[in-house]
């Protein structure tokens, strides 16, 4: 009798990549709910459409690469990318915008680099940045906070464009970050006092709060580590409070930076993407901190009010270097810092 030969270890833990990804998707649900509450069905439609597109594309390209389709789809990574894109892209984005973003995320940013695990850039952010540069008009039209559009109208906007719906102007609005960017010499206090800013801020705070809740859930489940989010939020808070301290009427407070835009989404759902970020714990601290600073710098001095995608992509580039220089000291070895 010859028994099979299997190498150790003969047991393994319960973690599964597909499940981890699914948990991350689940953790976005509070934010999706709140975004739907404040900005209408736009993001919901985005997410569903993007998911369908992503799964179709992923299946097709896996097929083309002659890999088992179901096995690879089961890692749920394409689904997660789609969900993040759907949440990040403006509500009521035209369907073709979604298509281009998903296509560049799944096909170009991921599979052309060799598939999951080999992509140097965060796929969702590649998709986002690409459409942001190519279609600035569509990308800076965010739904007015508190909008009330029927599902039918929402779908019509998505598939037929804004112009087919009456009274379009009242339904899209500049985001708080846009307003800050274009406020000119107006002091911040006055800006905040304005009703449109007030409403926008309220919505943004709620949504960011929802992301933070979802993110904390992931932290508790140990699906993501605290290093990158904490480092990013800390560095963003620090640098914004320095500027705020210098001129509180010109620069918005830390609170505003932390709770508007894609800050919380980025901190918990984007920069924690394991594939494209730094891997060691120390590396994650550097990586997160650098993103926090970049976000502030681009928001304040750059020409785009939303800085997450560019900051993340920039630091994706730097991740291998960070990893190289933050190798942990192996057991029994001298510290490698001065080696």
């Amino acid at each position: 009798m010859v028994l099979p030969q299997i190498t150790s270890p003969h047991i393994s833990g319960a973690n599964r990549t597909g499940q981890l990804m699914l948990w991350v998707i689940l953790a976005t649900l509070p934010a999706l709910a709140l975004q739907t509450y404040w900005y209408g069905y736009g993001n919901l439609i985005n997410v569903i459409l993007a998911a369908l597109m992503a799964i179709t594309m992923e299946a097709a390209i896996i097929r083309i690469r002659r890999r088992p389709v179901v096995f690879y789809l089961a890692d749920n990574s394409a689904l997660l990318t789609a969900v993040l894109l759907g949440l990040a892209l403006p509500p009521f984005s035209p369907w073709w915008l979604l298509l281009i973003a998903v296509l560049s995320a799944i096909v170009f940013a991921k599979h052309l680099y060799g598939g999951l695990g080999n992509n140097p850039f965060n796929p969702a952010m590649v998709g986002y940045a690409l459409v942001l540069i190519a279609f600035p008009v569509e990308m800076t039209r965010w739904a007015t906070a508190g909008i009330d559009l029927s599902m039918e109208d929402s779908l019509r906007i998505t598939f037929m464009g804004f112009s087919d719906v009456n009274g379009i102007d009242s339904w899209t609005h500049a985001t708080p970050l846009d307003l800050v960017k274009h406020k000119g010499a107006q002091p911040i206090d006055a800006l905040i006092a304005s009703p449109e800013m007030g409403q926008g801020l309220k919505a943004a705070y709620w949504v960011n709060f929802a992301y933070a809740i979802g993110g904390s859930m992931l932290l508790c489940l140990r699906i993501i580590s605290w290093h990158a989010p904490v480092a990013m939020l800390t560095s963003l808070a620090l640098i914004s409070s320095v500027f705020y301290w210098v001129d509180p009427q010109k620069y918005p407070s830390s609170l505003m930076h932390l709770l508007t835009g894609a800050t919380m989404m980025g901190a918990f759902f984007i920069i924690t993407d394991p594939v494209s970020s730094a891997t060691s714990r120390l590396g994650k601290l550097f990586y997160g901190a650098a993103i926090g600073i970049l976000v502030y710098v681009i928001r304040t001095f750059g020409s785009y009010p939303e800085a997450m995608a560019f900051s993340v992509l920039l630091m994706n580039l730097a991740a291998p270097f960070i990893d190289y220089y933050t190798r942990p000291r192996s057991y029994g070895h001298q510290s490698s810092w001065w080696r």
Binding site: I6, T7, P9, H10, D75, G332
Partner: protein, 631 residues
Amino acid sequence: MTDIFLLQGGIHPPQHKLQSSSQPLRTLPLPSQLILPLGQHVGALATPEVAVGDLVLKGQLIASANGTISASIHAPTSGRIRAIEQRPITHPSGMSGPCIVIDTDAQERWLDITEPVDYRQRSKADLLACIHQAGITGLGGSSFPTTVKLSTEASITTLIVNAAECEPYITADDCLLRYHSAQVVDGIDIVLHLLGYPHCLIAIEDNKPEAIAALRAALQNRTDIDVVVIPTKYPSGGEKQLVQILTGQEVPHGGIPADLGILCQNVGTLGAVADAILQGYPLISRITTVTGSYVGQPGNYRVLLGTPIEHLLTATETPLDNIERLIIGGPMMGFSLQNIQAPVIKSSNCVLVPDTQELPWPDPAQDCIRCGHCEQVCPAKLLPQQLYWFAKAHEFEKARQYNLMDCIECGACAWVCPSKIPLVQYYRFAKGRSQAKLVEKYRSDHARQRFEVREQRFLQAKVDKINRRQARITTAAHQQAEKTNHSQPLSSDKLPSVNPVLQLKQLKTAVALAQTKLKKATQALSDAESMQSLSRSKLATTVAALQAGLAQAEKQFQHQQQTMGLDPEREKSLKIAAVKAQAEVRQLQRTLDDVEESGRTASTEQLATAKTLAKVARKQLDIYLQGDHKT
């Protein structure tokens, strides 16, 4: 109370210890045959001391240690030597190995054993010899001969007794402590005596309360021995990990705990030491955990070494037919055994016969998502995901730079990996390959050296021979020339076979040819060089020397060109030189051709040959130049 430090990394796999630890220690019925492999330990195979057909008594030496790093083997019971032959052994490879097979006679007749004197009265060397003769090796799984460790020169300040037993399922040490804690303490005392009474720490995981209680009872508030209860976490029982948990220090890379004044011993080993020194018993049995869903009577058994695993299974009411796999050792670091005829050996602490429900077949591996979970649990603080990428890409050198060799193969990384990548398998492969490369390089270096020395001798002989012939020819030519000078002066045009212009031409072609060949050889050598990691400078020197030789040849040639054709004597010696030169250059061409060819398909050996050939070529060029110069 001793402070303990946190184990870096580590995991909490399900324990499954109750299956076996809830049962009492039992003794296995005597099998009809015992199979004792000569290599149950790390080190040289033991040398058989018995012949087929011999009657042996229980405890009799049947194979003696072959040097220090080796261990003796004794008959676990009385019987007759059935065979000394290749049998399947208990090894991951599933190979066979030389074994002594004993047909047991169920008499259990002991060898006469004299009551040993009190060990405190005996010399250190005597005690060590006694332990060595008893064939004791590390029973925790390392199977390293115990005396090697105990006879350390370093001054030991701490003795760490490893009772952590961190692997799931295994409870052999736990059982030993519960039933024989006094014996273990005796063993500790002996080792403390040997080491000059250092402080002693007994490390035990907090999942073994009964064993802890038994130990404490046996120790009776002694102050020189501390029982340190450590949190249950895998792999706390790894030697390096235990050192870190108990002392906060790390065993330096490439070092051993003795470098820190620490010596680690497994409890089982200490029990065996006590038996050997106090009773005079050699190591002939051990406690083995037999567990897993398929085992009818799971529990701990005192098993004679050499007991076929098949017998162990039948005796524990394990149905042989539906066994799916069998693991020797624990589920984290154990290996799957292919043949159940293989015996229990000194290091077999556990036989695990699981069903597919408790130990499912491995899942297919998905892509690595760089989640870093593996890194967080690695007790050696390596970067498992990086090592995996390197191993996968066959970048073994890189993997070594990332301290692959410090991996203890604990499997914690593979356990947590959400993509179910068999990481340890990759590391073993990479370690094996990079080790093989080193060994190969060492071997080829060695072979090359030997070859070069031989070739050098050979060459020297040849050179001498040529020199002698040269000398003879020159003298003969001189005599001839003198003779002819005296009788009848020769003019150049009367020498039909010596056409200086033609000679010059031939020499010119020869030099040109040699030049091209040399160029090719240089190219070939540099090709070969880049293929192999041989000493670059050495080869470069050879090529440079060849080039220098050639330059000299050219100079000589020009010199000849200027001075030739006038002096008849000179012409004559030139003729000799030319013939010689042509022959040498032909040979040079041949050898350089070889160099070129072997450079293309360069294996290390071929490269060595090529190098030597290049050397021969250079020598020949020298000879040619020398001969030429002499004229």
